[in-house]
C-alpha cells in the first residue's frame, strides 16, 4: 500500500503538541485512513515523536483496535460479552462464519468484510449484539445474518 508521507505527517502535527494520549489519536487516525497501520507510517510516527519504534510496534500489536494487516471495507464485530455469550453469541458467530466463509479475526478474500470478536459493546440488556461498522444491531439471531451480508454486498452502507 502506498503511503502518503506528507498526509501522515499532517496527522501527526494535529496531535503532536498534546503528549497525553497523542499516540492513541495519531494511530487511530492513520488506522481509519488506511484500514491498518502500514509499517512505513509507524516509522514516520516514531521519527516525528522521537519514540522508539519498538514502543510503537508494541502499541500497534497490543490494542485490539490496531491492526498490522489491512481490514476489510466493513467491520462486523460480534460481541462475546458475558450476557451475549449466555444468550447465543456463538450461534450468531457461526452463522456469520458460514455465510462469509471465514473465521473470526479474518477478512474475506475480496476485502469486503472483516469479522471480529469484541467483548462488550455495552448493550447487554438487548443481547446478542453485533456492530456493523458503527451501527449496533441488537437481539441478533442467526436468521438475520444473510440479510445483513446481502446489504453490505449490494452496494455498501
Amino acid at each position: 500500500m502506498d503511503i502518503d508521507a506528507s498526509e501522515v505527517r499532517g496527522i501527526i502535527n494535529q496531535y503532536i503538541n498534546e503528549p497525553d494520549g497523542r499516540v492513541s489519536y495519531i494511530l487511530e487516525t492513520i488506522q481509519r485512513k488506511y484500514r491498518y497501520l502500514p509499517e512505513e507510517a509507524i516509522r514516520i510516527v516514531a521519527e516525528e515523536l522521537e519514540v522508539p519504534l519498538t514502543q510503537l510496534f508494541g502499541v500497534a500489536t497490543f490494542y485490539a483496535a490496531f491492526s498490522l494487516e489491512q481490514k476489510g471495507e466493513h467491520i462486523i464485530s460480534i460481541c462475546h460479552g458475558t450476557v451475549c455469550h449466555v444468550k447465543g453469541a456463538k450461534q450468531v458467530s457461526d452463522a456469520f462464519c458460514r455465510e462469509l466463509g471465514i473465521k473470526e479475526g479474518e477478512t474475506t478474500p475480496d476485502k469486503l468484510v472483516t469479522l471480529e470478536q469484541v467483548r462488550c459493546l455495552g448493550c447487554c440488556s438487548l443481547a446478542p449484539v453485533i456492530s456493523v461498522d458503527d451501527e449496533i444491531h441488537v437481539g441478533m439471531t442467526a436468521s438475520r445474518v444473510p440479510q445483513i451480508i446481502q446489504e453490505l454486498r449490494g452496494g455498501g452502507q
Partner: protein
C-alpha cells in the same frame, strides 16, 4: 444575574416548557432498539403535520430492555413514559396529542413530581393537565417493581435531561456543587468526601476521600485527575449510560476533585468502543468551557482546570490504574508495581488520582447535600448507592441504582421480576474478576465486605443472572478465555498461568480431563491469584475458584461422567433433549424415525433406553421439552405425544421380546415394582441375571398403577408393558410385603444382590386438630383404593383437597368422576403449583374449584366424629424464600370455613419401609429417604442398592427409570460384569426431509368436555393420528446433527431452518 442563575432560568424553560414535550431516550440502547426512527417520526409530526410540541432526546432511564422509551410531558410537568415504542405507536401518540389525548397502551408509568437530588427539593407538578382523557390506571413510575427500590443519586439526571443541554443540567442543580466547592477550602471538600463514606465504584472499593487526601498531600507542580471510563467488564455498561446521559456530572465531579487535590488537568480515558459517549463528552466539555466552568479562574476562585479526552484502543487491562497511565503515555498497557502509588507518582511521574465514572458522578450531590445525607444510605461499611447492570436470564433487564445494603433477593425478584419459569442457578457478580453466588444465597446484602466474604466481589456492578440453562464450568471457561486473551503478558503467573488454566478448562468441557486435572486447576488458580502483578491476574482465577466452591459437582460430572448437566458443552451433548432426559433416550433419532414413517424403528430406539414407552408417552413431564430449541422459536416439540404414538402403533400389533440365551447364573432381588424396580429388573434380566421383584400390593407398577388414575394411564396399557418385562425373564411376586412376609436378611441369602425401589407412598399428615377424624383420607390412599377396585360413590359430596401437586389434581379429577364436587386448597398462588400446567387446566375445565393462599387450620367434625367442615387460614405473600417464591404469611384473624364431606391431604409424600431400613441399618437423610452413592446407587450396606422416589423423594417416572438403569449397571459391575447395559452403536445422523419452518405444537385430540367425560374413566387424551405425528415430527430441528467433526457449537451444529 450570575451565570448559574442565567443558565438555570433557561434550563427550567427548556425542562418544563409550556407546551407538550416529547423526550425520546436515544442513548446507545435506545438507538440500537430503533429510537432514532421514533424520534424522526415525532420530528415529522411537528414539522410536517403541525403538531404543537417540542421533541427532545435524553439518556437512559435504565429500563433498557423496554427501549425505546418515550416520555410525553405536559405543560406543568406531569409526564407519561411509554415503552417499546415503535414508529406505529409514535404515530399514534402524535395523532392522539392533536386531540388532547394519549393512547392507553404500553404505558410504563407516570410521574407527577421531580426529585432534585442536588438541591434536596422536589418539584411538584399540577395534577390537572389540560387534557380530556387522562389515562386511567397508570401506576406511578417510581412504584412499579423495576423502580420501586431504586434511589437515583449517580443516575439522577439520566432520562430527565437532554445530555446536550448545559442549561438543563444546571436547572437540575448542575455546577452548584462546583461553585460551593471552590468557595470552600480544598481540605473542607476532601473532608466531606471522606466523611460521606464514598468508596470507589469501579470495583476497588477504596475510600475515595482517602485517595484524594493522598493525592493532595503529594507536593508537585503538576497533578492529574483521571476518569477511568474504560469500562471493560463484559456485562457492565452503567458508565456508558452515565457518560451518554449526563456527561456534565463527570466534568463537574472532576473539576471539584481537581480543586480539592490541586490538579489543573483532568483526563477522561474513555474506551473507543463507546463512540457516542466520546462525542457526548466532547460536546459537554466545549459547553462547560464556554460557560466558564472549565478553563481559567473558575467561578472567580483563581482555580484553573482543563479537561481532555484520551481514547482507550481496546485492552481490558487498561482498566487497571497503572496500565491506564501507561496507555496515556503512549505505551502498551502494562501495569507497574505499586508502590509507588499513582497518588505519589502517576502519569508522567506526577501525582495522579484515578476514579471511576460512577464515583465522579456521586461527587456533586455529596458536596451540596453533605456527608451525613449520603451516608444515611447504605450499611456501616458501604455507604450510598450502587448502579448495577441487571442482565442475563432475568425478566426485567436494565440498569438499577439501589442503596447499598439492599438484599440481592429483592433486586432479583422485585426489581428484576425473577427468571420467568426457569430455575435460577447462579448470579455472577463483578464480571471476569468476580465470583458467583447461588440461588440460596440471595439474602445477602450488597455490601463490599459481605460479598468478599462469600468469594464474590461488588466489582463495577455487573450482575449477570444465570438460570438452569447455564453450565457453570462453561462460565468459568468463558471468563478465563477472556482474561487470558486480555493478559498483557508482562508477568509470568498471569501470562502462563491463565493460559494453562484455560487449557485445563477446555479439557474439562471436552470431557477429556481427569480428577488430577481438577486438582491442578485449583492449585494453579491459587498460585496465579497470589503471584500476579496486577488486578487482572490476581482476580482472573476468581470465577474458577467461585464456581468450584459452589458447583464442584458440575465439574465432577464433566470429568467423571463426561456429562454436561446444563446441556451446553457441545462435545458432551448429543442434543439438549437427549441430554436432559434422565433415561438418555435418543430423542431426535426416534422423532426422525416417525417422520420417515418407520414406527417400529422409533419404538425400538426408545425401548433401548426406556422399557416403559407407552406409559411415559402418557405421563412424562418431559424435562426434555423444557430445553427443546424449537421452543425458542415457537413451541417445544410434542416429544411425549410422539413417544406415545410410536408405542401405541407398535402395541396395536404383535410385540416380541427375546430373553437372552446366555445366563449369568446369579440372581438379584428387587423390592418394589414401581418404575425404578421394573427398569432395574428388566436390564438385569436382559444381561442374563435372574431378577425377582417382590411387590407388597396385589398389582405391579407402583405409583404408575395405584397413583396415576385410569383416565391418564389405563391399567391395560401399563400391564402390557409389564408383561413384556416379565417376558424378558423377570419374575414378579405380588402380595409379598418385604419386612413383614419376608425379611431382608432372607432376601440377602436368596440373592447375590438387592435393589430397593419402594417409592414414596406415605402421605404427610396435615398435623392439625381434627386430622384424625373419619373422613380425612390421604391422597395416596384415596387413589390407591380406587385403582385397586374399591367401589366409591361420592355423588353430591364435597371433597376438599389440600395441596398443589399432581396427586392433588389426580384426586380432584377422580372425585369428579365419582360424582363429587372437588375443591383444591393451596397455600401459595396458582403459578407456584408444582402440578403440570396442563393438568391444572384439565382439572379446572372439568369443574374443580380452586382456593389459593389458604392453609388448613383445623378440621371440624360432627358428634359422630365425622368430618363436617374445614377451617382455613387466609394467607398473603411475604418475603421471598430460597425457591424464589414468596413465602405465604398468615393474615391475622382472616379465616375461611368450608363445608366438607371428605378432606384429602396431598401435601407431599415420603417413603415407608416396613422396618427394612432398621433391619439392615440403612443410612437415611433428614427427609427419611435412603442415602446412596449417586453414581453407583449403592447404600451403606454391601450389595444393597436403591433408587427411585425412596432415594430422591417424590419425583417422576422417567427419573426412576434413569435410576433403575444406573443401578442395573452398578449391580452388573458389582457381580463381575462390565456395567454395560447394551452395545451402543452411534447412528448416522443426517437430515432427510426439510424441517418445517413454521408451525405450532400439534395438539392431540381429547375426549370432548361433556357430561359423559366427567363420569368416565376412559383415557381423556387420544394418541396422535399418523398425520398429526408426522406433521409434528417435521418440526424437530435435529439439534443432534453437527456440522463437522470438530464442531463444538453448543448442542446444535447448524440450524436447518431455525431462527434461534
Amino acid at each position: 444575574m450570575s451565570i448559574l442563575e442565567e443558565l438555570k432560568a433557561k434550563g427550567n424553560g427548556s425542562l418544563y416548557p409550556d407546551k407538550v414535550k416529547i423526550l425520546v431516550g436515544r442513548a446507545s440502547c435506545g438507538k440500537a432498539s430503533g429510537a432514532d426512527k421514533v424520534y424522526n417520526t415525532f420530528i415529522d409530526a411537528v414539522e410536517q403535520q403541525g403538531l404543537d410540541a417540542i421533541v427532545s432526546s435524553s439518556g437512559c432511564l435504565g429500563f433498557c430492555q423496554q427501549e425505546p422509551l418515550v416520555a410525553v410531558q405536559f405543560p406543568g410537568g406531569t409526564r407519561y413514559v411509554y415503552h417499546d415504542v415503535d414508529v406505529d405507536l409514535a404515530g399514534e401518540i402524535a395523532t392522539a396529542l392533536e386531540n388532547n389525548t394519549l393512547p392507553n397502551r404500553q404505558v410504563l408509568g407516570k410521574e407527577e413530581e421531580d426529585e432534585l437530588i442536588v438541591y434536596g427539593t422536589t418539584n411538584q407538578f399540577a395534577k390537572k393537565t389540560n387534557f380530556i382523557n387522562e389515562l386511567k390506571q397508570v401506576p406511578y413510575l417510581n412504584k412499579i417493581p423495576f423502580y420501586a427500590l431504586q434511589v437515583k443519586i449517580a443516575t439522577r439526571n439520566c432520562g430527565y435531561i437532554n445530555p446536550a443541554s448545559l442549561e438543563e443540567y444546571v436547572a437540575r442543580g448542575g455546577y452548584e456543587a462546583l461553585r460551593k466547592a471552590v468557595s470552600s477550602t480544598p481540605e473542607e471538600v476532601i473532608k466531606e468526601v471522606k466523611d460521606s463514606g464514598l468508596r470507589g465504584r469501579g470495583g476497588g472499593g477504596f475510600s475515595t476521600g482517602q485517595k484524594w487526601e493522598f493525592a493532595r498531600k503529594s507536593v508537585s507542580d503538576e497533578k492529574y485527575v483521571i476518569c477511568n471510563a474504560d469500562e471493560g467488564d463484559p456485562g457492565a455498561y452503567m458508565d456508558r449510560s452515565l457518560l451518554e446521559g449526563d456527561p456534565h456530572t463527570i466534568l463537574e465531579g472532576m473539576a471539584i476533585g481537581g480543586y480539592a487535590m490541586g490538579a489543573e488537568t483532568g483526563i477522561i480515558y474513555c474506551r473507543a468502543e463507546y463512540p457516542l459517549a466520546v462525542q457526548t463528552l466532547q460536546k459537554a466539555i466545549k459547553q462547560a468551557e464556554e460557560a466558564g466552568f472549565l478553563g481559567e479562574n473558575v467561578f472567580g476562585s483563581g482555580f484553573n482546570f482543563k479537561l481532555k479526552i484520551v481514547k482507550g484502543q481496546g485492552a481490558f487491562v487498561c482498566g487497571e490504574e497503572t496500565a491506564l497511565i501507561a496507555s496515556i503515555e503512549g505505551k502498551m498497557g502494562e501495569p507497574r508495581p505499586r508502590p509507588p502509588f499513582p497518588a505519589v507518582s502517576g502519569l508522567w511521574g506526577k501525582p495522579t488520582n484515578i476514579n471511576n465514572v460512577e464515583t465522579w458522578a456521586n461527587i456533586p450531590p455529596i458536596v451540596t447535600r453533605g456527608a451525613q445525607w449520603f451516608s444515611s444510605f447504605g450499611t456501616e461499611g458501604s455507604k450510598g448507592t450502587k448502579v448495577f447492570a441487571l442482565v442475563g436470564n432475568i425478566m426485567n433487564n436494565g440498569l438499577v441504582e439501589v442503596p447499598m445494603g439492599t438484599k440481592i433477593a429483592d433486586i432479583v425478584y422485585e426489581t428484576g421480576g425473577g427468571c420467568g419459569g426457569y430455575a435460577l442457578k447462579a448470579i455472577q457478580l463483578g464480571g471476569p474478576s468476580g465470583g458467583c453466588i447461588t440461588a440460596d444465597m440471595l439474602d445477602l446484602q450488597v455490601d463490599y465486605e459481605v460479598l468478599k466474604e462469600v468469594g464474590a466481589i461488588m466489582g463495577s456492578g455487573g450482575m449477570v443472572v444465570m438460570d438452569e440453562r447455564t453450565c457453570m464450568v462453561d462460565v468459568a471457561r468463558y471468563f478465563l478465555d477472556f482474561t487470558q486473551g486480555e493478559s498483557c503478558g508482562k508477568c509470568t503467573p498471569c501470562r502462563e498461568g491463565t493460559k494453562q488454566m484455560l487449557l485445563l478448562l477446555n479439557k474439562i468441557c471436552e470431557g477429556k480431563a481427569t480428577m488430577a486435572d481438577l486438582e491442578l486447576l485449583e492449585e494453579l488458580s491459587l498460585a496465579v491469584k497470589d503471584a500476579a502483578l496486577c488486578g487482572l491476574g490476581q482476580t482472573a482465577p476468581n470465577p474458577v475458584l467461585s464456581t468450584l466452591k459452589y458447583f464442584r459437582e458440575e465439574y465432577e460430572a464433566h470429568i467423571i461422567d463426561k456429562f454436561c448437566p446444563a446441556s451446553v458443552c457441545g462435545a458432551l451433548v448429543v442434543a439438549p433433549c437427549q441430554n436432559t432426559c434422565p433415561a438418555g433416550i435418543d430423542v431426535p433419532m426416534y422423532i426422525d424415525a416417525i417422520k420417515q414413517g418407520n414406527y417400529q424403528e422409533s419404538y425400538d430406539i426408545i425401548y433401548r433406553d426406556n422399557p416403559l414407552p407407552a406409559t411415559c408417552g402418557r405421563v412424562c413431564p418431559v424435562l426434555c421439552a423444557r430445553r427443546c430449541r424449537r421452543g425458542l422459536l415457537d413451541d417445544a416439540i410434542g416429544i411425549r405425544e410422539l413417544k406415545r404414538f410410536a408405542a401405541d402403533k407398535v402395541f396395536a400389533g404383535d410385540v416380541k421380546v427375546t430373553p437372552p440365551a446366555k445366563r449369568k447364573g446369579k440372581s438379584v432381588g428387587i423390592v418394589g415394582s414401581g418404575p425404578a424396580g421394573l427398569t432395574c429388573a428388566y436390564y438385569l434380566a436382559q444381561l442374563g441375571y435372574d431378577a425377582t421383584i417382590y411387590e407388597a400390593l396385589p398389582v405391579a407398577g407402583g405409583m404408575m398403577a395405584v397413583g396415576i388414575p385410569e383416565f391418564r394411564l389405563p391399567a391395560a396399557v401399563l400391564n402390557k408393558e409389564i408383561s413384556l418385562i416379565e417376558a424378558m425373564g423377570v419374575k414378579i411376586k405380588t402380595n409379598v410385603r418385604v419386612g413383614k412376609d419376608i425379611t431382608m436378611k432372607q432376601l440377602q441369602k436368596d440373592h447375590d444382590s438387592l435393589f430397593i425401589g419402594v417409592g414414596a407412598h406415605k402421605d404427610q399428615a396435615l398435623g392439625i386438630p381434627g386430622d384424625d377424624l373419619n373422613g380425612v383420607v390421604s391422597g395416596i390412599e384415596f387413589l390407591r383404593d380406587i385403582s385397586l377396585g374399591k367401589e366409591v360413590d361420592l355423588t353430591g359430596k364435597t371433597v376438599i383437597i389440600i395441596g398443589g401437586g399432581n396427586v392433588a389434581i389426580d384426586v380432584a379429577r377422580t372425585s369428579i368422576r365419582l360424582g363429587a364436587r372437588a375443591h383444591i386448597v393451596y397455600r401459595r398462588e396458582e403459578k407456584d403449583m408444582p402440578a403440570f400446567a396442563s393438568e391444572i387446566h384439565e382439572a379446572r375445565e372439568e369443574g374443580t374449584q380452586f382456593t389459593f393462599l389458604a392453609a388448613p387450620l383445623k378440621v371440624v367434625g360432627n358428634k359422630k366424629k365425622k368430618v363436617k367442615q374445614i377451617v382455613l387460614q387466609s394467607m398473603e405473600l411475604g418475603p421471598y424464600d430460597r425457591s424464589g417464591r414468596r413465602r405465604p404469611v398468615a393474615i391475622k384473624g382472616a379465616e375461611i370455613t368450608l363445608d366438607a364431606d371428605l378432606i384429602v391431604p396431598a401435601i407431599g409424600q415420603e417413603p415407608g419401609y416396613d422396618k427394612i431400613d432398621e433391619e439392615l441399618k440403612l443410612n437415611k437423610s433428614r427427609s427419611n429417604t435412603l442415602v446412596v452413592d449417586k453414581r453407583s446407587m449403592i447404600t451403606n450396606i454391601e450389595g444393597v442398592f436403591a433408587g427411585g422416589d425412596c432415594v430422591s423423594g417424590p419425583a417422576t417416572v422417567v427419573e426412576a427409570i434413569g435410576a433403575g438403569k444406573k443401578a442395573a449397571s452398578a449391580i452388573d459391575k458389582y457381580l463381575g460384569g462390565d456395567g454395560v447395559l447394551y452395545q451402543a452403536v452411534e447412528p448416522e445422523r443426517k437430515l432427510v426431509g426439510a424441517v418445517a419452518e413454521a408451525g405450532r405444537l400439534v395438539k392431540p385430540n381429547c375426549m370432548p368436555l361433556d357430561a359423559k367425560r366427567l363420569k368416565s374413566f376412559d383415557e381423556v387424551e387420544f394418541a396422535y393420528t399418523e398425520e398429526q405425528a408426522i406433521t409434528e415430527a417435521k418440526r424437530c430441528m435435529r439439534c443432534d446433527i453437527k456440522e463437522s467433526d470438530d464442531d463444538e457449537t453448543g448442542s446444535c451444529g447448524h440450524c436447518p431452518g431455525c431462527g434461534c
